[in-house]
């Protein structure tokens, strides 16, 4: 027996590595993720929002009861899973683009999208710099975090009355992609020192832009449709490879992930079965680590003690979005209340807002107090439109009817000049 015991190889290396602790921590994180899911089902809110809230509360309680490091948000494996979640989420967001709509409406969409990005970006950056006294890099980061918009939220609104098939809806949706593209490009380039590495990274992105739409469908046709999931492995190889190159170039992995999603939107994006499998991996395991981790860095005591920064960012973001987007909705002759509702909805942006803020915290561009203010503003900008809309509820198609347009058909399509 002694000889057998000595010859038995250890399954896990034990030097400086407590396996029990890892599994215990993993159980805690997945338990928190499950709790967040149940909360989101009960309250009918996005799981991402409940995960951020659970992360914040868990860190507060565990910090008080056990110690601030007990949640393990900085453990390498937690950071890896969270980072992979952010990359996949960004890829899937890019893959939602409808290339056909974009090709037809790219001029109008680009104009609207750039306005929708630049007005809140510059407005919030200026507010952070000159009203809150943040340093220049932190101010730029605030502008980026506040410039985002949510494609799917706007898409859901457009679906309600069939506006997603009108010129108005298509332009607005394509514009949302441009806004988010502005966010990820700004995130990837503003904080990266411009060296030969940046040129190599840009060249690699260009090669990806040209080669991937040609190579991917061929690979999937030849090797896809098997239980071993070669498609998922192929995509993860691309995402991890470009992510490694991005980090080497001091950029951000979500930039190539979003670009990859956009260039593959016409192929991978149309494969609903593959997208669903990727969503299972993303929502089932990875994004809970990302959003709970993001929530765990929010300091509630700081927010309560000094809510001014968060309130200012929220007001400036919503005001800037209104200034940028409201004229567009009015140009399509939407009634005032509906135009305001659409504009407020375009102020939401949970995914890229938290990604930007967490990037800033991880790279020490912002401190925890600034991070807390930005994340709180991002969340509030997602909550506010719904609360306002439900508080002052009136069927929007009746507004359109009262305004003189036909209630049962989408608004007449008008080309933007």
């Amino acid at each position: 027996m002694l000889v057998a015991a000595r010859s038995r190889r250890r399954l896990w290396p034990t030097r400086g590595f407590d396996v029990g602790e890892v599994w215990g921590l993993a159980a805690l994180w997945v338990g928190l993720a499950l709790l967040a899911t149940l909360v989101s089902i009960w309250l009918r809110i996005a799981t991402a929002l409940s995960e951020i809230a659970v992360g914040t509360i868990a860190q507060l309680l565990i910090g008080v009861l056990v110690g601030t490091a007990a949640l393990g948000a900085d453990q390498p494996w937690v950071t890896f899973l969270a980072g992979t979640g952010a990359i996949l989420l960004t890829f899937l967001a890019g893959a939602e683009l409808d290339p056909e709509v974009f090709r037809r409406k790219w001029k109008e969409a680009t104009a609207v999208g750039l306005i929708s990005f630049f007005v809140p970006f510059l407005g919030c950056a200026a507010a952070a710099r000159y009203l809150l006294g943040w340093d220049p890099m932190a101010s730029w980061l605030a502008g980026i975090a506040m410039s985002t918009t949510s494609v799917a939220v706007v898409y859901a609104v457009m679906l309600e009355f069939g506006f997603n098939v009108t010129d108005y809806g298509k332009t607005v949706l394509a514009a949302c992609f441009i806004t988010d593209l502005g966010t990820v490009v700004a995130l990837g380039l503003i904080f990266a020192p411009f060296t030969y590495k940046t040129l190599v990274f840009a060249a690699a992105n260009a090669v990806m832009f040209i080669a991937l739409p040609r190579v991917t469908p061929r690979f999937f046709r030849r090797f896809g449709g098997r239980p071993s999931e070669p498609e998922a492995k192929f995509l993860l190889l691309g995402l991890f490879g470009m992510g490694a190159l991005a980090v080497w170039a001091d950029s951000e992995p979500v930039l190539p992930a979003y670009l990859m999603g956009m260039v593959l939107a016409g192929t991978v994006g149309k494969d609903h079965v593959l997208i669903r499998r990727l969503r299972t991996l993303t929502f089932g395991l990875l994004t809970p680590f990302y959003f709970i981790r993001a929530g765990s860095f929010v300091s509630v005591p700081v927010l309560i003690a000094a809510p001014g920064a968060f309130l200012l960012m929220l007001v400036v973001k919503v005001t800037a979005k209104i200034a940028g987007v409201y004229p567009v909705t009015k140009a399509f002759k939407a009634p005032n209340k509906e135009a305001m509702y659409t504009t407020l909805l375009m102020s939401t942006g949970l995914t890229f807002g938290t990604i930007s803020a967490l990037f800033g915290l991880s790279h020490e561009v912002i401190d925890q107090a600034q991070y807390s203010a930005l994340v709180a503003a991002v969340i509030a900008s997602a909550v506010l439109p719904t609360l306002i809309a439900n508080a002052f509820f009136m069927p929007r198609h009746l507004l359109r009817k009262a305004h003189g347009a036909e209630a049962s058909t989408p608004a007449p399509a008008e080309e933007m000049k």
Partner: protein, 138 residues
């Protein structure tokens, strides 16, 4: 009296009762029954997840209508079925206006305080803004 009846259906027990009442009225008046179920995106939404939920929700609501289609066929009713996406009260009123319904039938489902704050009372909103009579079945 009633030529088109819109039934707002969500698969709940009150909604099943509401179907019974709507089907009875449709038979008595020879009316067409328009069954509408509304898939609602989550509030305070997130980007990628919202798209996934809309797709999932649409599939779920399509499946919800399958037993009702069979029941309506067995009852010999003229019925059509639709899944809409959006705010439930909004879509019910919009559906009724689009279908030129003479009557809306909804089940009444009690909500928690938080849900009432967040969603409002759907049947109250329908009653307030509908352009035709509304029958709430308890």
């Amino acid at each position: 009296m009633f030529q088109r009846i819109l039934l707002a259906y969500d698969g709940s027990e009150p909604a099943q009762k509401a179907y019974g009442v709507a089907a009875d009225l449709a038979r008595k008046y020879g009316a067409e029954l328009f069954v509408l179920t509304v898939a609602r995106p989550p509030e305070f939404a997130e980007d990628v997840e919202t798209e996934a939920i809309i797709e999932n929700s649409r599939d779920y609501h399509e499946r919800l209508l399958v037993p009702l289609r069979e029941r309506a066929a067995k009852d010999g009713l003229r019925a059509r079925f639709e899944v809409a996406i959006g705010h439930p009260a909004e879509q019910i009123i919009y559906g009724a206006d689009s279908a030129q319904a003479d009557l809306i039938v909804v089940g009444h489902r009690g909500k928690t305080l938080f849900q009432r704050l967040l969603l409002g009372s759907i049947s109250k909103q329908v009653i307030q803004y509908a352009n035709c009579p509304v029958l709430v079945v308890r």
